[in-house]
């Protein structure tokens, strides 16, 4: 069972790394962007990290694992919005990032108070 899990993880990681090296998401960006290969592949790397976070959310043994993974996913999406600000040339993506950071902080505090077993108004 352990060897099967190792084999599956190594297969998924090598497959995604090969996919990142071969293709890039260039259709999202404006056509004369410099370094378009770099930005497309960076989106793939962030998607891979988000998939790892979703794995931990789906298969956390305790609820504290899930809260940690949701917090980490929220911080990473701020970075994703920042890369989209550069690569699409639309300046309102970074506003989405700031609002997402605020929302993620408040929701993490509320979830940790809930985990502690107290009321929300304490």
């Amino acid at each position: 069972m352990k060897t099967l899990r190792w084999f599956l993880g190594a297969f998924v990681l090598t497959g995604l790394v090969t996919f990142v090296c071969v293709r890039h998401l260039s259709f999202l960006f404006y056509p004369d962007l410099p370094y378009v290969d770099f930005y497309g592949r960076s989106l793939y790397i962030l998607i891979l990290a988000s998939v790892l976070c979703l794995y931990r959310i789906a298969r956390g043994p305790t609820s504290a694992d899930r809260i940690v993974a949701v917090d980490i996913l929220g911080i990473m999406i701020v970075g994703l919005c920042s890369i989209l600000t550069i690569s699409t040339g639309r300046p309102w993506y970074i506003d989405i990032g700031i609002a997402w950071a605020l929302q993620s902080f408040i929701s993490t505090l509320a979830l940790s108070k809930y985990l502690e077993g107290k009321g929300f108004d304490e």
Partner: protein, 111 residues
């Protein structure tokens, strides 16, 4: 010149994000996962935002990226500390090879 430096910052931030999430998957305990993931991902995201500032320059987007760095550096340790405190108080066990638990000793001293 500044664009190249910004691209280096963005690449370093992506590497930190990926290794932080790998630690989130691979480590054995809630507290170990929290340590690896929070430090690495906060550093990586701040590096990506600083790279954005270097690439864009002193426009509205760049200044907002600097503001977002300050906000993340202020709020992320607070959130991690709240999660660790809540997990310890709700009775999540440490990993079986952990050697010290200072917070449990302090709480025994309180009670």
């Amino acid at each position: 010149m500044l664009t190249g430096l910004g691209l280096i910052f963005v690449g370093a931030g992506l590497a930190f994000d990926l290794f932080g999430c790998l630690g989130l998957v691979r480590l054995p305990d809630v507290y170990n996962r929290l340590q690896a993931a929070t430090k690495c991902v906060t550093m990586g995201t701040c590096s990506i935002l600083f790279g954005t500032f270097l690439i864009v320059g002193f426009q509205a987007q760049g200044v907002k990226a600097l503001l977002c760095i300050v906000f993340l550096l202020l709020t992320s340790p607070v959130a991690a500390h709240a999660i660790a405190r809540g997990a310890h108080r709700s009775g999540v066990k440490l990993w079986k090879d952990s050697v010290v638990d200072k917070y449990a000793e302090d709480r025994e001293g309180e009670a």
